[in-house]
Assembly symmetry: D2
Homo-oligomer: 386 residues x 4
């Protein structure tokens, strides 16, 4: 068993299906990393050839070499080779040059490892965030359906744990929808703005002179990424913004999940999950397992956001640790937020609502008329959905 294989099925893996999202995980696995790194290298060779920085005749050789590595190189082997130099691009570029033979001179032109790592990371983030966005959208759609369907279903509003006055379940669910929509758009906006990274060893583009900026732009264009203004090797606001948006999205998932757990409590009984978890010893249990695990995933996010924000001061022109720390922290944050969204989607998709229980509980404090304006607020949220 290789090092990588052993690394791979730690409980983050074993517990992955339970707390995480298979679909997000698939966008971030070793094969996905290898493919993204090679995509960047190939696009860079193309871009450099287009500017005359490397021989256009060599492009085909690099493309072929990359294809060979893509299918033939075990990510675990690359991972092991990455230890020596501190990142996987060093051994990958070496292997790519070797595989390209006489075209090897067209590999990695003008680039530094961070150019390739950061750009590949952007590609992976886009893929992972697309899945997260899809789950957030589905969860929001489910909340919207609940909101519309129960627009006029009275229930008790509870403040500080105590019944306060009437609200409607429709307004509660529409509120979940609003938070999920907002988080989804916030995340999508940040992700869409993540640009290519290309600066060369010192971040000056000197190694791709006289066409550095043009190569950078061509690289972006080939990969379908926004162009960079300037290299951002150590200007990490974007990573912080991404972390923040993921943290907000996790929070937007936690809120409905917590509400579901509380509303599903035996004494409240106002909602239940479609497929509640059972218990081997207590056949009467109807555990809201999807909500529970959505909460568990979501609660991983804030600490990971803090890690990424704390890593913001990339000293000098390449950080001695803060950069490397981003890789696992960002991966974990994508998995945690992705898990929260996926599990919440499951929770809300089949949520069973019990209007009778809502009415019964509400009768403890109130006759239960539909509060004025509540339906109007539901309509407003649902009409303004983007």
């Amino acid at each position: 068993m290789t090092t990588l294989q052993r690394m791979s099925d730690v409980p983050g893996g074993m517990l992955g299906p339970l707390l995480g999202s298979d679909r997000v995980a698939a966008t971030l696995d070793g094969q996905a990393w290898l493919a993204a790194l090679l995509d960047v290298e190939v696009a860079l060779t193309h871009a450099a050839a287009g500017q005359g920085l490397v021989d256009a005749a060599d492009v085909v050789g690099v493309v072929a070499a990359a294809a060979t590595l893509r299918s033939g190189l075990d990510p675990a082997v690359l991972a092991a080779e990455a230890v020596e130099g501190g990142n996987p691009v060093i051994p990958l570029a070496r292997r790519l040059r070797a595989a390209a033979g006489t075209a090897g001179g067209a590999v990695h032109p003008g680039a530094t490892s961070q150019d390739v790592m950061d750009t590949a990371l952007v590609l992976l983030v886009r893929a992972a965030a697309a899945v997260i966005g899809d789950d957030l959208a589905a969860a929001a759609a489910a909340a919207a359906r609940l909101g519309a369907g129960h627009r006029d279903t009275p229930m008790a509003a509870r403040t500080l744990g105590q019944q306060a006055l009437p609200t409607t379940f429709g307004l509660v669910a529409a509120g979940w929808c609003a938070g999920l929509d907002r988080a989804r758009h916030g995340l999508a906006e940040v992700v869409a703005a993540l640009p290519v990274q290309f600066g060369g060893a010192a971040g000056t583009l000197a190694a791709s002179h006289p066409d550095g900026p043009a190569v950078a732009d061509a690289l972006a264009d080939r990969l379908g990424l926004p162009r960079q203004d300037v290299p951002w090797h150590t200007e990490r606001s974007r990573i912080g913004e991404l972390a923040g948006a993921l943290g907000v999205a996790a929070g937007a998932c936690a809120k409905p999940a917590t509400d579901v757990v509380l509303l599903a409590a035996t004494e409240v009984g106002e909602v239940s999950e479609a497929e509640p978890g059972g218990s081997s010893s207590m056949p009467h249990k109807r555990n809201p397992v999807a909500a529970v695990t959505a909460r568990a995933s979501a609660h991983r996010a804030p600490g990971l956001v803090a890690t990424l924000l704390a890593a913001a001061d990339h000293e000098h022109q390449r950080a001695a640790g803060a950069w490397h720390c981003e890789w696992p922290a960002l991966t974990d944050l994508l998995l945690a937020t992705g898990g929260a969204a996926a599990r919440l989607r499951t929770c809300l998709d089949g949520l069973v609502v019990h209007p009778d229980a809502m009415a019964r509980n509400l009768s403890l404090i109130d006759a239960g008329g539909i509060p004025h304006h509540a339906g109007e607020l539901v309509d407003r949220i649902l009409a303004h959905r983007r």
Copy 2:
């Protein structure tokens, strides 16, 4: 000595001038809170009168009562009274009603405590963020001046702590500027979008029927705040976004501060602060105290962001703790980010650059020519400043 006075000069106070920002603190003190809470109450009475929810003849009485409390009520007394009910709006509304006499019926119409607290918090955040933005802008301007002034001053780029290839100090400083500008605009955008809060006890606007939404809009308009779509008592994405933007801003301050500490190291000696701190026992010391304290302030931010993000799941229709937790955490985060910006501004405003030391250090690895493209990148950053 009152409770409040004792609370007030804990080391967060005593050490405040050192690590914090007087100007930010002034926007968040007890008097500022009292004023903001009263501003919201008065505006609410106006707005409700405009919709006929309260008697227009009573407005003048409420305005007068608020003016009395503004100058005559000790925030410490209000703070002590807040304990019983769990927030200061309950005793404030009571006092305001009493002070308004026969006009008391026009106080706090249709509102819940959270409406007033959240809206006041938005007012305070706007004031604090304006100061932070001013310090960020001044720090960025100083960085821009350094960038322009040293556009062609060669220095060693350092990666993983090791000299790599030449860059210019102008590009380094322009990079600081880019991060600060980006953080400033990100923060301003989030703050500007913070809306009024008005929902009533259950968040349904029922208590201001039939004109709830109109009252909410009028309240926003009077306070110069964006209108709400719907009440956001427990949809706290905005708080998370604000926390994230403040965390990013703190990181944007930490980066140049760390660079200054490293570049000011005795063996490097490439920059020094205008007024370095001394040492009673070591007369040769030239400590970059402003950068040091900027870092210290900035490093407080990530944990506070995590606290705010973790508080996102406001359960039911008013959270039993998560809401209250926002107050100190957000205050501390504004002070920490504000301290980082203020201290960095001091650091960069008078930063002394030593091109000769840069040249000497660079000669360890290179003859020190100006790297191609570096000046162009400086120009690009400075030209694109917003």
Copy 3:
């Protein structure tokens, strides 16, 4: 209004009585800091005189000078003076020397600022932790009383929010007691082990040669602190251990507070606070305000612990920021944990238990016999209390 006064009544102050602990705050205010710093300086002069490092005849002059400053120096003035050099010991030593006149040579012998700051911090932490320990002990005692008094009161155990099988309220409360006791002892152990700090500018004790270690030990003895093994200027495990213990204590407060909020929910109604908070608009509300604010305080702790742990890598022989960051973060953490303990004490001291509601709820799933072993477990916890 001075800088310090403005700093002092920020909302962490205004909201302090609500979320915090007056008694903890009093141990950490400006006057307390000033007194502690002077205590250390005076003890140091005594200790150095005892070893012949300074003239014994000068001791009385330093003592008198310190007494003058203690009553006559405004901490706010010292705070403002601290900005220039980056800590308050530099101006304090200068003032103390001036006030001591001809005895000034006996001030601050062989010491560096961090020696005085760290030792004073240890004194303050001991004082604050004593108060926190007292509140934890009182809360635990209240929990123990509840445990004993309801040893055989059946209630529903709830797992994942669902009723599971019977337990007793006595066992639940005894579990709270166990956590609080454990946290209290853990905190006390860490605090008791915090030693004096004395190393001189480079941490070598060179400036107090030939009796450096003896001076350090005499200083510890005079202050009633454990002796240091060696200076620990940049070996900050103790700060991390302290942070961890405070974080655990906050968590031990959060657990019962959360349970109280949930058990006090309208539909559950199994406990209520002695003096629940009211609502101006909803006279039926019985908000468990003490539990709510205990939770809010406790939830501030984890992020602050992270800040202190992240500050552990004090580079070189005095950290450029990580050291300074400890001051506000540790102060806030003491206040947060202290607030949680104080508010939980209030919550549990007067907690009203409703066995009839427990029986009624339990009847939803079970006839409600007392579970075997439960009383035995209560007895075991209460008998093993330390």
Copy 4:
């Protein structure tokens, strides 16, 4: 490719060898989890049989069934099955019962899922912590060797980044040793105290009446674990203490790693790693890659500690999310701390010291005599090693 396999080689895996510890990972992988869970189930059957709770004749059948599952059950399959009920013990107990045939009645007697999960987690933590302790010990030993070998090697002490006065490299390295030793012992103490968990569904031991406590003790004895006082399903101080100790250990690794990065800087040049990382484009680079990656791993820890502390308030008798959140957070924290220790060990084991550079740098401020007491402090640290 199964779900688990896809989960397994996410970058936390791919980047694992670079930032993590293979040896720690091996103690936490899917096979290790499966083995630990089965170890607990088998020990429980033995313990219950010993008390007459199950038929002693059935033990052999359960042992055989467990052996079959141990070698034949794919952890990935179990992971997938865990989703339905929210933890892997539910499907594992079901499979074990089925495999045991007529002895199935002796499976999982009196237990709840959390009993098995928590006890297995303790087993895994002990295994992982043993590896971490070994790496910490080896790193400390390397630091001790450096301390002894350079007891009298003068170098500049640096405070706030500036040269201050002389110290010795021996004292610096001995300080690293002190921190690592302290962290190791603190971690070992916490881990050794982690007890068995056995409480049954409601935490009352009712399901193992009349011998619940005896079964719990027998279970502990069979597994070589400390006995529990009482079940600790929701009294999570131990998890917080463990998190704190791991956070402190990570910090103890970060401090020397940061010092190495700074001392290895081109302009300082006082140390270098035995096998520095190279750069494909800059042949002169000598990157301190082990220190860099030790820092990166260590910096993951504080946020994860915060997550675990924030999860302390396990509500009711089994937390709806806080419990589940512990699994990935604790795993990640063990991997992060383990990675920091392993990489630091590599860094310090071969650290090359350059006394000439130390002397040259020191000459900038001082003639470079050995400071008084420094050697004595080194001796004290090394003599007091435990």
